[in-house]
Structures are given as C-alpha cells and as structure tokens.
Subunit: 195 residues, 2 copies
Amino acid sequence: MARTQGSHSDITGPRVRAAALALFARHGFAAVSMRQIAGEVGVQAGALYNYTPDKQSLLFDLMKDHMDQLLQDRAGLTGGDGPVQALEQFTRFHIRFHSKRPEAVFISYMELRNLSPDNFAIIERLRRAYENQLEEILRAGMKARVFDMCEPRITAMALIAMLTGVNTWYSPVGRLSLAEVEEIYWGMVRKAVAA
Amino acid sequence: MARTQGSHSDITGPRVRAAALALFARHGFAAVSMRQIAGEVGVQAGALYNYTPDKQSLLFDLMKDHMDQLLQDRAGLTGGDGPVQALEQFTRFHIRFHSKRPEAVFISYMELRNLSPDNFAIIERLRRAYENQLEEILRAGMKARVFDMCEPRITAMALIAMLTGVNTWYSPVGRLSLAEVEEIYWGMVRKAVAA
DNA sequence: GTCTATATTACGATAGAC
DNA sequence: GTCTATCGTAATATAGAC
C-alpha cells in the first residue's frame, strides 16, 4: 500500500474516515492504532493528522455524523395520519436506516465509553431526542386509545432494542429481504402495543 | 494500594477476576492494562501471571463462566406446564438473571471481537444453545396454536434483544422494582406472540 | 506468591524536509 | 499534503531474588 508523495486532500479525508469506521467496528476503538488506519488508507501515520486533531475526534465525528444523519432522515418523514401509521413508519424507518449502516450502528453503541465526557454528552442528547420521538408516538396512541401500555418510556426503549437487534443477524444477501424483515418486526411491534 | 510480600493465592485469584470484570466492563478489554488490574487488586503486574497465562484467557474465562452459569441456572427450571407458562418463565428468568450481572452481560456482548477465534467459537456455541431454548418454546406454542408468528427463529432473536435491553436503563435503586419490570416485559412478550 | 527489574514492542503525536 | 524520523510514554510478558 506504499505510495509516493503527493497531495490528495480531497480524497484522503473521506478515506481516512471510511478506514476508521471499518476498523473501529471490526476491532474496537481502543484496539485500533493510527498506524493501522494509515496503512488501510495507504499513507503514513503522521499524515492522518492533516484530517483529524487526534484519535478521539475521529471517533466522535463518526458517531456525531451518524446521529445527525439519523435525525435528519427521520425529520424528512411525514409522521403518518395517526399513531398506528406513525408507529409503522417509525418501525420501518428504524430497520431500514440501521440495517444499511451496520458499522456506524455498531460503533455508536459500543464505543460510547471511549468518548470524552463532553463528547459523550453530545451524543447522548441526540440519542435521547430520537428515543423521545418514539415515546411521543406511543403516548399519542394511548391518548387515542389505539395503543395500550402502562410505561410508554420503557416500551419505547424495549421496542428500539428489539428493532436494533436486527443488525445482529440480518444480512442483505440472506434468506429474507429487508421488506420481509420489516413486515415481521412491524407485526410484533403492532401486537405488542395493541389496545 | 502498595503491599508487602506474602502469599495470598486463595483470595487473590477471585480478586483478580473481579477487578478484571469491573474494569473490562467500564473501559473495555483493549483499553484496560494488566497494570490497572494489578493496581485494583493491590499487587504488581507480574503477580497476575500466577492466576492467568495471559490477558486473553482472563477475558475468555469471565465470558465462559457467565455463559455456563446462564445455562446451568436455566437448566434448573421446570419448563412450565405449557408453552405460555414456559415463555413466561423464560422471560422472567432472562430479565432477572441478566439484570443481576450487568458487568458480565456487558462484557459478553461487547468483547466478542476481542476473543481469539477458538475462544469465540466456544462462546458462540453456548449463546446459540440458549437462543435455541427460546426458539423451541415458540415452536411448541405454534404447534399448540397458542402462539402465532411466521419466523420463530427471528422472533426468538427479537425477544432476546428486547429483554437484554433492560440492562441499558434498569437500576436496582430506580423507580421500578424488578418484579414490575418483569411484568411490563412479560406483557409485551405475551402480546407480541399471541395467537 | 509476590516483588523488582527489564526485554521487547508498540502507541499517539509532533517536527521538519520536500 | 505526505514523507521520514523521533520524542516520550506505556503496553504484555518474563526472569530471578526473596
């Protein structure tokens, strides 16, 4: 992977981030060295510091971008005509979004403890905002008497855990299509909160 | 934490494992040094090698013991009078067992990638055996027409993910008792698979 | 069984040449 | 913007004294 000198700022930056994403997901943040990332990109370790002030920022930027994209994509949806439709939309969106980015999802769940306190607080606030969206859907459905549960916050956490669990077994080349997976999980979600 | 020389084999061994469990759960396997573990125990780093051949074995032993205990405790249960009772028993057992060992659970889910290939295969086989127990309960319930689902394997994975998610928010000193948590989750599980 | 001391290797990050 | 070279530190694991 050795290469001669030259200027490639516009393509090296994204490649550094892509390499870090793949390596952090595979081996864990603490187990990956800057030299490994550089080797994957095809530069020397020192060159990485043209694109990130330090290793911590590299991790944080990956997680921050992931959460921003999640909330942005989610904000682009209509919200549905009622609580049931909104819940179905949330369910399908969550599965689709997360199954398409297994590495970023993995990192965002596993590497929280390797964030600096300040960075952790930022990511946690974004995650909380996403969880709150599901909780509000559940509360609206209770008010409309189409859902029945005693603890909407905990139900929201339980449903998100279930949906994110798709990533532990789903493969795009597996037996089930993403549409079929959505259907199976939407069936469980619908029944679990049904009035 | 410094201490003078002396022989303490019978108490140091468990303390090494306890320190490793706590530190691995808090900071991650790769981020914890043998010196940190030794410091927590109150010995020098070299002394740890009287209790483990290397750091990898320390991690593996923690995970192996956790899985063995899970399967052993589970095997001590009756199984219930029918599929519905069996599912309720599984649900309550899973929540109770996992909520009582948050550190071991955390490690067993997060540090799989830090196991050597051989060790990974052993742990995976044990995990699979546990998942199969839930899958068999679901299949029995389908046969008896008390459960309804199209994919019992995936449903089992979904339910386990949901139940293990309790560990992300539950605190023994929080608002809800463990019995209340069990009740809430059993309600969701029951409805999700109901015929 | 634990200590001190160390061999060997690797880490994150920086400096200055090109 | 990337290179080579390096600073300062810390890692796992081992050896031999007590």
